[in-house]
Amino acid sequence: MINKIVNSVHEAVSDIFDGAIVLISGFGEAGSPIELIHALIDHGAKNLTVVSNNTGNGHVGLAALIENRQVKKMICSFPRTADSVVFPELYRKGEIELELVPQGTLAERIRCGGAGIPAFYTPTSVGTPLEKGKEVREFNGKKYVLEYGLKADFALIKCETADRYGNLLYNKTARNFGPIMCMSANSTIVQAKHIVELGEINPESVVTPGIFVKKVVHILHPVSENKLISENFSYL
């Protein structure tokens, strides 16, 4: 029988190994799997390469994971946001690596990693400092940059609703990178607000087919990152 539901966040992240490439969903707070990230802090895996659009806020979630020195390198499009303090400090000290990728290129690299496409050409970043060191090639008289598919070991994802096959629905703009990160990771770990019986999700409306999901854990009331930050909460 297929049952991807696991009982705890600790069980969910237990396989994450030192040096792993970990995708973390979310755009700002929306879609950030705070409970899974905190479980990864407890778990303690180190030297991680983390791929996420931002670098977390305050001292919770992704920012706390970075602050706990578990992240060797960030791959992201926008590492400084209003409440981002941890990453900038470590970056200025040279204690964390950064690979800066335009947001759409980041999204397409992740999707291609999941779709078995090793490389593709894109017009984004041509003629800018971010094309440096990359192959540039002309198609029909226009220049494009070669970018590589990004395949990960794990993905930590927040969604709204899941079933035991791992079929997922998301909530509004918290969807963002979730579906493509599910595709790209060898092992996708999901926190879901609601777990429903098979057949309760309309087969026409499934956003992430279960084939892309390894484990699901039920988090009925996820914390609000905004609220924790306004309370100056620190996970560490």
Binding site: A30, F78, L100, S125, V126, K172
Partner: protein, 217 residues
């Protein structure tokens, strides 16, 4: 250069000028900050659909206080609403809309615009700055028409419209039209052409206060 000029356009007037130039039925992406103002000035008889790259087509007005939803935000991470007929999608589909040329117009801010239409708006190149690019390079590479909304001068009173950008580029030859507090300027193959000026601005003044060469049609 002179920072205090009478008879220039306010931020709201700049936004309004842009709104008037957005045709009925357009799909539009608004950058973070000043560009967001444009949404307030779409003429009532036009239906324009706003795209935000974090996965929503059909961005509505700001929510009422107390009705904000942490999971319904725009690219600037501000709470928004979704109109009737809106739809949500993931980031790869969202940037397929951008890169694939499906968005008609985007409105962005700028540090510098060159007379060839090069844009610098993501980094001042300072060595200790944390580089952050977001979706800006994708937008200028993919969207059909790129409008820039910006003050004519930097905070230090320097012209933002330059012969060559000195800041790191967001894209080469990507800007179509520039809306400043002084004027509206078209970027063409033959150079920069002024199409409108604020009431207190004349062409001589504008030329004197713009590093790049300007023309009149």
């Amino acid at each position: 250069m002179n920072k205090n000029v009478a008879g220039i356009w306010s931020r709201e007037q700049m936004a309004q000028k842009i709104a008037e130039d957005i045709p009925d039925g357009s799909y539009v992406n608004l950058g973070i900050g000043l560009p967001e103002l444009v949404a307030n000035y779409i003429p009532a008889d036009r239906e324009v659909i706003f795209h935000t790259e974090n996965g929503l087509l059909g961005v509505g007005p700001s929510p009422k206080p107390g009705e904000e939803d942490d999971e319904l935000i725009n690219a600037g991470k501000k709470p928004v609403t979704a109109i009737k007929g809106s739809c949500f999608f993931h980031h790869a589909d969202s940037f397929a809309m951008i890169r694939g040329g499906h968005i008609d117009i985007c409105v962005l801010g700028a540090f510098q615009i060159s007379e060839k239409g090069d844009l610098a708006n993501w980094s001042t190149g300072e060595t200790d700055a944390i580089p952050a690019v977001g979706g800006a390079m994708d937008l200028v590479a993919g969207v059909k028409t790129v409008f820039i909304i910006t003050q004519h001068f930097t905070k230090n009173g320097e012209s933002k419209i330059v012969k060559e950008c000195t800041y790191p580029l967001t894209g080469k030859r990507v800007v179509n039209r520039i809306y400043t507090d002084f004027a509206v300027i078209d970027v063409t193959d033959k150079g920069l052409y002024v199409i409108k000026m604020a009431p207190g601005i004349d062409f001589d003044f504008l030329k004197k206060n713009t590093e790049a060469e300007l023309h009149l049609y």
